[in-house]
């Protein structure tokens, strides 16, 4: 039985994984995701990936365009958890060299994530992220 408090732990792990993602490594983030056919990822590059295979592919492609980056911080806008489903709405601040660029560029994402316990462990089942245009 996954405790509701463990959602916070998953969110913390996800933020650490984002730091790796911004260095070009999607593997830590991939470990935190559901392998379900109903996993969905709508990312800032326009993806509407559905099912783990598509989600993983999109994640790998996105990570390959990031280098030398960091997860800078976040602001939680809303968070709510029940025993079977939970969500967070947050603003994420990140920076990286993007798409072969030589300069490290900071940017912010507005993010909705949905979590579900699978075999007693909370997993990400959906992530919706788009860039903040007025920060």
């Amino acid at each position: 039985m996954a405790a509701v408090d463990d959602v916070d732990e998953l969110i913390e792990q996800f933020h650490l994984a984002l730091g790796e993602f911004m260095k070009g490594n999607p593997e830590p983030e991939k470990m935190l995701w559901s392998r379900g056919d109903d996993a969905t990822l709508t990312n800032p590059q326009g993806s509407t990936a559905r099912g783990w295979d598509e989600v993983a592919e999109v994640m790998e492609r996105a990570a390959s365009t990031r280098r030398d980056g960091r997860f800078l911080g976040f602001e939680t806008l809303a968070k709510y958890a029940t025993a079977d489903l939970a969500y967070v709405v947050e603003l994420e601040r990140l920076e990286a060299k993007v798409h072969g660029g030589e300069e490290i560029s900071p940017y912010a994402l507005r993010v909705t994530m949905i979590f579900r316990p699978e075999e007693g462990v909370w997993k990400v089942v959906h992530r919706h992220a788009d860039q903040v245009t007025t920060a």
Partner: protein, 64 residues
């Protein structure tokens, strides 16, 4: 969907006169919505919508 929380992820196709434009334009939104029962009735507690439905380059996240 669970008894206490539910969510949907979908594409919405809409048509409207947007801003001050005189012509009706179709557009598509990627939408995540989250619902929760309140006093026995499902209510929307969160809506995340964006218009990014075609591939954008990685550097589009950066605001210059």
């Amino acid at each position: 969907m669970t008894p206490e929380l539910a969510y949907t992820v979908w594409l919405e196709r809409q048509k409207a006169k947007v801003g001050g434009r005189q012509d009706i334009n179709p557009f598509t939104l990627r939408v995540t919505m989250i619902y929760r029962p309140e006093d026995g009735t499902w209510k929307v507690v969160h809506r995340h919508a964006d218009p990014i439905t075609s591939p954008r380059p990685a550097e589009s996240v950066i605001q210059e």
